[in-house]
Symmetry: C2
Subunit: 311 residues, 2 copies
Amino acid sequence: MSLVVIGTVAFDALETPFGKTDKIVGGAATYIGLSASYSVKPVKVVAVVGDDFPQSDILSLQEHGVDTEGLQIKQGEKSFFWSGKYSNDLNSRETLVTELNVLADFDPIIPDSYQDCKYLMLGNLTPQIQRLVIQRLVNRPKLIVMDTMNFWMDVALDELKTTIEMVDVLSINDEEARQLSGVHSLVKAAKIIMAMGPKYLIIKKGEHGALLFHKNKVFYAPALPLEEVFDPTGAGDTFAGGFIGHLAATDDISFDNMKRAVIHGSAMASFCVEKFGTERLLNLTQEEIEAREQQFADLVAVIPATAVQNV
Amino acid sequence: MSLVVIGTVAFDALETPFGKTDKIVGGAATYIGLSASYSVKPVKVVAVVGDDFPQSDILSLQEHGVDTEGLQIKQGEKSFFWSGKYSNDLNSRETLVTELNVLADFDPIIPDSYQDCKYLMLGNLTPQIQRLVIQRLVNRPKLIVMDTMNFWMDVALDELKTTIEMVDVLSINDEEARQLSGVHSLVKAAKIIMAMGPKYLIIKKGEHGALLFHKNKVFYAPALPLEEVFDPTGAGDTFAGGFIGHLAATDDISFDNMKRAVIHGSAMASFCVEKFGTERLLNLTQEEIEAREQQFADLVAVIPATAVQNV
């Protein structure tokens, strides 16, 4: 069930209340690819880096089952770089540096071997480039999942809406859902956004979990209450990677299976935040993942009462 | 399973983005009593009002199964009055007026007929008065649930801690849990607060649901995503009333039954916010309540997959 992922492969420099990093490997496609690789291999990545990107990190992706044939390496250019600093409660972050570098004129080339794409994950990028990938696939994938962010709502709303219209599942956070719909109630926002095209909408609420909407149905996946969130970077991408990875692995896009995919994605994201960057995603076992998914199931499990209330 | 509730019976004047009210009946004991009355009757209330409190509203409480023998009516005095205005997103509110009136020298008198108390709900009040009620009960109740608020943390922290030490279940919101514990992580906060005395801790997260902690166990009850929240006043009290009402009705304080009590309380709170004040709580049917509880169950329900991931 061929899975293609487009997004950034980049450098991040992070500062959280618990420490700071030098340039480490990040980017939406990196997190998505690593996360999805625990469900399905290969994960075919379309992205661009400069010649400053370490070969060892490309090898590391490959070892995890990430196909890098679609990863362009631009000689004499530098990789995309983002630096940010999180607030003390990790609920907000400030961008310190954004250097587009190779992203400035990124032209996504789809290798022939990617044309069997059945599941397409559009990681956060300019909506024009996301659309170009859809257009360059000869056959429309069975399922297209799109992630985006408020930045594109601010600077390219019409382009964004054109791309949103073409996808099956949109994944955004609560504030982005409110901005895109213009209403505060997430239930109302979901209706407005699904009327824009996507049949499914995922609203991520960070430490409060995620909502999956489809027609009049709604599913609530809580987040695991964690003792410590170390670094939230990449959590949303890791969630998306787990979500589409599970769907691609099972090749089942029923609403019931999407619920399971949301739980799996939430479990993957709960690992991601335990360490800086991709560190935790590089060394997971299936046993750890299954145990974490069981924790999610236990968290909301209620045994039905046999007793009847005595009113 | 005798249930005693202490709290305010009062007047509120509310302003939300959807409208405003004149003085209407409110108060923690009113919401708790009405909510619990759908599980167990009678609900024995200890409170105080002035002679301005309408007899018709006392009759209305009685018709719902609220025992008002412990409701003192102070001649020549006025009832507690609170007026508040909510922000546009309903996430914060500003107190416009607080008139203590009869509350200023409230001396809670426990009628003899209340001494069979097995379940005690301490609605939000000064921690000294909450403690006095515990002390005036000849036998310690089987379960004591306490609600409080950040105000007492600001002005009477030592008194508050003395009372918290005496109760079994503490119910507070996320910001209050952070303030009381001094830490941001709710998992850490729960450990710190349970070390202060309560064996169980409920952390209410408003539109994000509620967490129930006990020892190393945690249960997450999501809130129902609502199209419209009309007036959040009393939602926390209504939750608490539903919670202890369910426990008293079933006389089962196992962790499994506490989970069901949290779901029931959440369902009751989801009704409360649909109309101004107590309006919605005055006219519920068991069928409506059961249907709403089913919605909560459906919201998190996942059918286990039979298929195995093909990694």
